[in-house]
Assembly symmetry: C2
Homo-oligomer: 317 residues x 2
Amino acid sequence: MTNGFNAIIGSQAAPQLAIVGSGDWTKAALDVCPLELPSVVVSTPNEADLSSVRILLGAPAELIHFIPSCPNLQWVQSTWAGVDAIANFATEQLQITALKGVFGQAMSEFVIGWLLAIERQIIQRGVATTWLDGPDGTVAGKTLGIMGTGSIGSAIAGASCTFKLRCRGLNSDGRTQEGFDSCFATNDRLAFARGLDYLVSVLPNTPQTDELVDAALLDQLSPGAIFINVGRGNAVDERALVAALASGQLRSAVLDVFNTEPLPPDHVFWRTKNLHITAHTAAPTPSDAILSVFAANLHRFLQNKPLLYGVCSQKGY
Amino acid sequence: MTNGFNAIIGSQAAPQLAIVGSGDWTKAALDVCPLELPSVVVSTPNEADLSSVRILLGAPAELIHFIPSCPNLQWVQSTWAGVDAIANFATEQLQITALKGVFGQAMSEFVIGWLLAIERQIIQRGVATTWLDGPDGTVAGKTLGIMGTGSIGSAIAGASCTFKLRCRGLNSDGRTQEGFDSCFATNDRLAFARGLDYLVSVLPNTPQTDELVDAALLDQLSPGAIFINVGRGNAVDERALVAALASGQLRSAVLDVFNTEPLPPDHVFWRTKNLHITAHTAAPTPSDAILSVFAANLHRFLQNKPLLYGVCSQKGY
């Protein structure tokens, strides 16, 4: 465990910034902090005096244990995109910011990679030991629906364009977004889903996104559609998903996110045919992305400027 | 077997155009022919009187048996991109045209799909029955070298751009091509290969492309590189490829084309680790592409205009 105090000039001063975690990135983050801001790297809330801490940096799953112990907290920078665990702490006095604008490439690779792998039979052909003749499918001319039109959804839409996919978007109010042929409001989700060949969710975990992918929506898809979830597990009615795979209404599903992670070994998903399970690996957080977003926001914070990627406690993201 | 004579107005006339094959596309091709041009669909050379045939349409593997039987032949339209089997028949009196400009999408899907599948571990994750943690790779920032910078190579270069790949091209004289960061001549193939993360060949089968991918070239690649061949099998020194996979200099290879197809069951490739074999399925010929290129060229032929995608017997493509 790194003892971050070593790196502090005037280590007698109570820390104003606490970096929560134990990875290599924590040392690099400490280097980003200016000398006049006493800073510390900690793993548990009782490791340091948190009474003067104004700034927290870390993963929401750990931050949730620190925030109540910091009476003078002003800003929390998440190292994840998903901030549902801590979004409700956001107030006028306490800003919470997410890690954004850095997952588009990895998410696009994952979504386009899996769509191509399924259409081009790469999983079967990858282990072929005989000459597997017969034609592949193609993504060209298919229609992709993306639930969530923020920076990740827009990046996926941009990449899909290259392969002649058409793109439909779903967001809270149906506002248009660049890169999408059309956008629908959450209330119009059945019209959004009608005839889609591929459905991708990048939705955050909020009460408004609970089980949006249910039997009614899956029924609207083109028969034999493919579903990919790289958002959060709450968006899926699990029973309806298993039924759609069993009936063939869905040809395949690729799930990277679940209500409980790791997915428990006795979960029905492990025994569901044509369901591919990845281990929340679609978009790992690149350390340099944490540093660049943190450094940019720290600079803004110290200059009393508005922070990037602020979270709204009401919206939950 | 379709008896194409049925479709001919004045079927007593000796055919001037012969469509070679038995697929559904042959009937549609017959519909493209003008009534004043007696046309026939045939499967073997002795099925019809070929003495007046001026135009042949079909696959090179079959056309090779027809061309010598047509004393008055003026133009041969191939339904394949690869015309090495018949290129040497091209003269000033006999034009041979290839099928081009229609494989870019399918080839891009195949190449980008396989690169993403390997980097993102889709083949392993696709059959996972437990929670496979641990990070994937990414194609972002990697350098892709494409041997062949014609319409197929350019399409792949364009698609790779979307995923932040850098692209280097190889062609006969090193001429620059849009979409490539730099291009090298065949003579400079070792400089071209130096440090490449990914190598893709879309080269045609000509004496100049024989075993261009040999031990010397493979040695220049970045250690752990990936090689994909969607051109023709002659471009690869098979022994050197197997050795590079065994040593780890190549992490994976994906071969869609071979010197003998189907690849014989006793071929060493079937027993080579990290070598994926696909059955010449990278870019199936879409029937509508045959029809549109044939129709365009037929119109030009009947108006004595230069044909599209003409083949040079000296270059062999």
